[in-house]
């Protein structure tokens, strides 16, 4: 027969074990955010069938692809924010390979379904990531830009196969966009909301920039009657007379003067009537999540009074 004391100790240990500790907690892990421009930004966009490359014979190479990332945030389903970016990160995704933006150590191992970030106006105290040029950051800050691309596009001259028609471009965008409720693309039939941190492991979320989105011929990437292709011909033509000055550089101003052709571009949802309005609208779509995953996109900055079209802000 157990002594009453031993038995009471046994009983209270059992009860305490039940109430006091939770042997079922999942441990802690690490969440790392990186960015990458993919081959389209690092190596360029070739001519192709519309999704693998330009459908109109052009090919393009980026010289710079500057992005200012901000406000990376990780929160659980209940909305508790467990990690937040300290200050903006400035990257040039033309430089090769995945670059680290920030690492959040020591997060409870579980699913965090509310992951968000922003691409916003560059600020002087942004941390420079990798080999990005500080002079580029200063330029973005002085012009109030959040995204800046420059490069060269060319296609074989239809009149002379041995020659190439070349256009350069230097486009700075002031668009400020938030990307919320990010979810991964479907893997194995399931699209994951946010991230899942696992015990004693590092999970990597890549904020991928898609360099081909500026050239889409439709604003909606959803269920379109006509498949979406990437085009450069109309942008190149904006530089030619009578619309442009024919100097071989396609400027945003020239794009903002060129009427868009609704038989080529699906203009549903476009405020404005020019190719410039179209490209500026598309600049908000370059931010993605974990390669092909998407987020809910929202404009952050208020619309100045008197502005009706995107191009109006660049006058």
């Amino acid at each position: 027969m157990f002594s009453k004391l031993t038995s009471l100790v046994l009983l209270s240990t059992l009860l305490c074990a039940a109430g006091c500790s939770d042997p079922t907690s999942g441990g802690k892990g690490i969440e790392k955010f990186t960015t990458w421009g993919e081959e389209f930004i690092e190596d360029g966009i070739p001519a192709g069938d519309g999704t693998t490359g330009f459908v109109d014979g052009w090919s393009l190479k980026y010289g710079k692809f500057l992005v200012n990332y901000n406000a990376i945030s990780v929160a659980d389903a209940a909305g508790h924010v467990v990690a937040k970016l300290d200050k903006p990160r400035f990257v040039d995704n033309v430089h090769r390979d995945e670059k680290d933006l920030i690492t959040f150590p020591d997060l409870d191992a579980k699913a965090y379904t509310q992951v968000s970030y922003e691409i916003s106006t560059a600020v002087a105290n942004a941390e420079i990531v990798g080999d990005a040029d500080p002079a580029d950051l200063a330029m973005m800050v002085s012009k109030g830009l959040s995204v800046y691309v420059e490069g060269e596009a060319s296609k074989p001259d239809p009149d002379n196969a041995k020659k190439q028609i070349t256009k350069t471009f230097h486009w700075g965008f002031k668009t400020q966009t938030s990307y919320r409720d990010c979810h991964s693309a479907e893997e194995n039939g399931i699209s994951t909301e946010g991230v899942v941190v696992t015990n004693n492991q590092t999970d990597v979320s890549q904020l991928t920039t898609h360099g081909d989105h500026l050239y889409y011929d439709s604003l909606q990437s959803g269920d379109n009657a006509k498949p979406t292709s990437i085009r450069f011909e109309e942008k190149a033509a904006a530089d030619d007379a009578p619309n442009g000055d024919g100097d071989g550089e396609v400027t945003l101003q020239e794009l903002c003067q060129a009427n868009i052709d609704p038989s080529v571009y699906n203009t549903s949802g476009l405020p404005g009537a020019t190719i410039g309005d179209f490209v500026i609208s598309l600049a908000r779509t370059i931010g993605h999540f974990r390669h092909e995953g998407e987020c809910t996109i929202k404009r952050i900055d208020p619309v100045p009074s008197g502005v009706t079209n995107p191009c109006d802000e660049y006058k």
Partner: protein
């Protein structure tokens, strides 16, 4: 040599007919003649003289099946234990197999022995006192209640459980949707069901987590249902959110039973069974073949099942073996839009898509071994189950549903929807598992204190798929899911019962569950990538039981439980998130030999919940919820010719937080708030014909539900249905007539709110509307039975 087996064990009567508080056990040595009569009975020295005399008197009245040596009856000597029942209320027998041969016709187990060959001197008494109730509303519905009113399937038997309502939306062979105490347990997601020691719930079934198809059991072979609402018992594991049900199998009509039935809508049923005389009712076999044309188009169904079980002594232990096979195929009419029925554009019993239906199969084997006495007892059960299920259903017709994914995926889904959202789901599973426990007295405060430790494990290997089919051509239009899941569920528990005061029992325990899932998704973009996830849950349970008077108890209970997620919803390496369930209950129990009445107040709180979201057409996470209710029930058999059972349960299920579109205080949709059930049976002896008594059985079962909340501040239709049966039996022949829905009421079985479009080409209505499955009209069944 096969030892003598008791056939009749009349109850032991206390000296001077004065029962004492506690039970008394008296060992008696008997000699059983080759005729089966007891020719000599002796007690050991040291037993109280009065008790000794009473014990011998009781033993002499016993009748045995004589010992057999080389097939010939011989005399044998054996030692038995005569139990005098204490006046403390008899606790219901709760372990799955109880090795009590030929129990006398009383509602609670009384005499408790198994004879052993004269050569042996060990005494084996098995499973006699099972685990006592963990809450005021934990009850056992025994054969008397289960056979009072007519039942077509074992799922129908669930209606006798207080607080339970069932509906059918997929055809007569599919698992029912179960509502219990404010929970929409869907097909078994929140209700743990065991039958014959084998789990019935399918883990991660693609149609619904915990899908529990009880159609493999002919209703006649269920001898007892123990209902354990809440999560107060450490023996309750996965799926026990609203509660658990344990079904014991047995058939007590001695000899052979041959039965044939015919009835409305082309119903035919053939039933065969046997139960050898002299053996406990746990030894039996049964066969059933049933088919019907259905009460409307696309409602034909057929099923066959065979089940056999035996309980035999194995040395000093007892073994139970059970095996069964079942197969069914059924058509389903699916749902109808309520507005179409009310407008008259479709007949109540019509169907939009007559290709719906499915099939189901189940084969299983279970072996149980147990041994022990009142002091110490152990048991081990191992089982294997093979299950397969296919369902084809069409809830939304040609509706183009919002679909997330890449442009190509959205386009494919829309193209598929244009041909119809007919959905085919298949789920094939193999299950291996075991449960084992050891219980021993552990005197701390009193001699009757006991400790029990149990372990259980279950492994499921599942292959499942979901495809969209064209409504017209039945060709696959979209491959949505093609997955293999390996699920493991391992648990251990400790349960302590102590008696700190003479009137107070405290039962408490701790249970640890570890669940692991390995999922391989071959469908969609995944090319067979595997992912695994695991999680563990620790739950504390406690019950305080205070004996107020000889027959009345007051109980207060608390328990931690969990709801496990669908395996496919877990990401790689994710710590499986379990919904935390906390149950509280206080109540009163009143129990005598002839009557049981309980009243209880209960509350269950969930850390988050799931509700069917009409927009996504699946169960989505909702804010935390709280269910509060009251349950009053009783079962009585004051005379041998009358028995009654009735229950009323009221539950209010509401959200406790405001989030995601739901407001705190809003009701949860779908589970009915009021569930009423009554079962009455009159079994008079009508007279005598040719020196043989004519017995009759008139039974009536009533099920009523009221206040079913539906989305958008609506309430579903209430119903109040009556099923009756009239049987007349002259010795070996019985004629019975049953009528289900006697008053031929128009009623709606299931009611749901979601958007659908069943007219191709018309501008669809996208706003969620009410859809119903129509309840069966009056169905009559006439049965002729021979008992040989």
């Amino acid at each position: 040599m096969i030892p003598p087996v008791p056939a009749e064990q009349p109850r032991a009567i206390w000296p001077h007919d004065e029962p004492r508080a506690e039970d008394e056990l008296v060992p008696v040595v008997l000699v059983v003649a080759a005729t089966g009569e007891v020719t000599s009975a002796e007690t050991e020295s040291g037993v109280e003289p009065e008790l000794s005399v009473a014990a011998i008197e009781a033993a002499r009245r016993w009748v045995f099946r004589p010992a057999l040596k080389d097939g010939r009856p011989v005399a044998a000597k054996l030692k038995v234990l005569i139990r005098f029942l204490g006046s403390a209320p008899n606790e219901p027998d709760t372990t799955a197999p109880t090795n009590v041969p030929a129990r006398p016709p009383a509602p609670n187990p009384v005499a408790t022995t198994v004879a052993v060959p004269a050569e042996q001197t060990t005494i084996t008494v098995l499973g006699t006192k099972g685990t006592p109730p963990r809450s005021a509303s934990e009850i056992i519905q025994d054969k008397r209640v289960l056979s009072a009113s007519p039942h077509r399937t074992a799922s129908d038997l669930l209606l006798t459980v207080p607080g339970m309502a069932i509906t059918q939306h997929s055809g007569e062979g599919a698992a029912h949707q179960i509502f219990f105490r404010g929970f929409d347990a869907v097909h078994g997601q929140d209700l743990e069901i065991w039958a014959g020691g084998v789990p019935v719930n399918d883990v991660s079934n693609i149609h619904g987590q915990g899908y529990a198809d009880l159609n493999f059991l002919p209703p006649e072979v269920v001898k007892r249902i123990r209902s354990s609402p809440g999560t107060y018992d450490p023996r309750q594991g996965d799926f026990a959110v609203a509660g658990s049900l344990w079904l014991d199998l047995g058939y007590d009509e001695p000899g052979f039973t041959l039965s044939a039935s015919t009835g409305s809508f082309g119903a035919r049923r053939y039933f065969l069974a046997y139960h050898p005389k002299g053996w406990s009712d746990a030894t039996f076999a049964a066969f059933e073949l049933y088919s019907t044309d259905g009460f409307g188009p696309a409602r034909a169904a057929q099923r066959t099942s065979a089940i056999a079980q035996t309980e035999i002594p194995l040395g000093s232990a007892t073994a139970r073996v059970m095996a069964s096979t079942y197969a069914a195929s059924f058509d389903s009419a699916g749902v109808l839009r309520l507005s179409d029925i009310e407008k008259g554009s479709i007949d109540r019993f019509g169907s939009y898509d007559e290709h719906q239906g499915g099939d189901s199969a189940r084969s299983q084997v279970a072996v149980e071994l147990g041994q022990g006495d009142a002091e110490s007892r152990w048991s081990i059960t191992s089982y294997a189950v093979l299950r397969s299920m296919r369902l084809r259903q069409d809830f939304t017709g040609y509706l183009v549903q919002p679909f997330t994914g890449s442009a190509a995926e959205v386009a494919a889904a829309d193209k598929a929807s244009a041909q119809g959202n007919s959905e085919q789901q298949t789920n094939d599973a193999s299950t291996l598992g075991m449960t084992a426990w050891y219980r021993r007295s552990l005197p701390i405060f009193a001699a009757t204190d006991a400790l029990e430790v149990g372990v259980s494990g279950r492994y499921d290997s599942i292959a499942q798929s979901q495809k969209k089919l064209s409504i017209d051509t039945s060709q696959v239009t979209l491959d949505e899911v093609d997955a293999k899941v390996r699920a493991s569920d391992v648990a251990g528990y400790v349960d302590l019962a102590i008696h700190p005061l003479s009137r107070v029992v405290v039962r408490g325990g701790v249970r640890l569950d570890g669940l692991a899932y390995v999922t391989q998704d071959d469908g969609g973009q995944g090319q067979g990538q595997r992912r695994s996830a695991q999680g563990a849950h620790l739950g504390a349970k406690a019950t305080v039981d205070v004996r107020l008077t000889q027959s009345a108890h007051a109980l207060a209970s608390y328990g931690d439980g969990f709801r496990s997620p669908q395996a496919r919803s877990l990401a790689a390496g994710e710590t499986a998130p379990f919904t935390k369930v906390q149950s509280y209950e206080v109540g009163l129990r009143y129990q005598t030999e002839q009557m049981r009445a309980t009243a209880s107040l209960f509350r269950t709180v969930l850390s988050e919940d799931l509700a069917f979201n009409q927009a996504t057409a699946r169960n989505d996470r909702t804010p935390p919820t709280r269910r509060t209710g009251v349950s009053v029930e009783m079962a009585a058999h004051p005379t041998s010719w009358f028995s009654a059972a009735a229950s009323v349960t009221y539950t209010r299920a509401e959200f406790t937080n405001t989030d995601g579109g739901y407001n705190a205080g809003d009701l949860l949709p779908y589970a009915p708030q009021v569930v009423i059930r009554s079962d009455l049976a009159f079994t008079p002896t009508l007279g005598q014909v040719m020196n043989r008594p004519i017995t009759a059985h008139f039974g009536i079962g009533q099920t009523a539900i009221a206040r079913r909340p539906l989305p958008y501040a609506e309430m579903g239709h209430d119903y109040n249905l009556f099923d009756v049966v009239a049987k007349v039996r002259l010795r070996e022949v019985e004629l019975a007539v049953s009528a289900f829905n006697l008053l031929n009421q128009d009623w709606y079985d299931g009611e749901y709110t979601f958007a659908s479009n069943f007219q191709k080409g018309a501008a669809p209505s996208l706003v969620p509307q009410r859809h119903v499955t129509v309840g069966a009209p009056r169905t009559v069944l006439a049965t002729l039975t021979l008992f040989l």
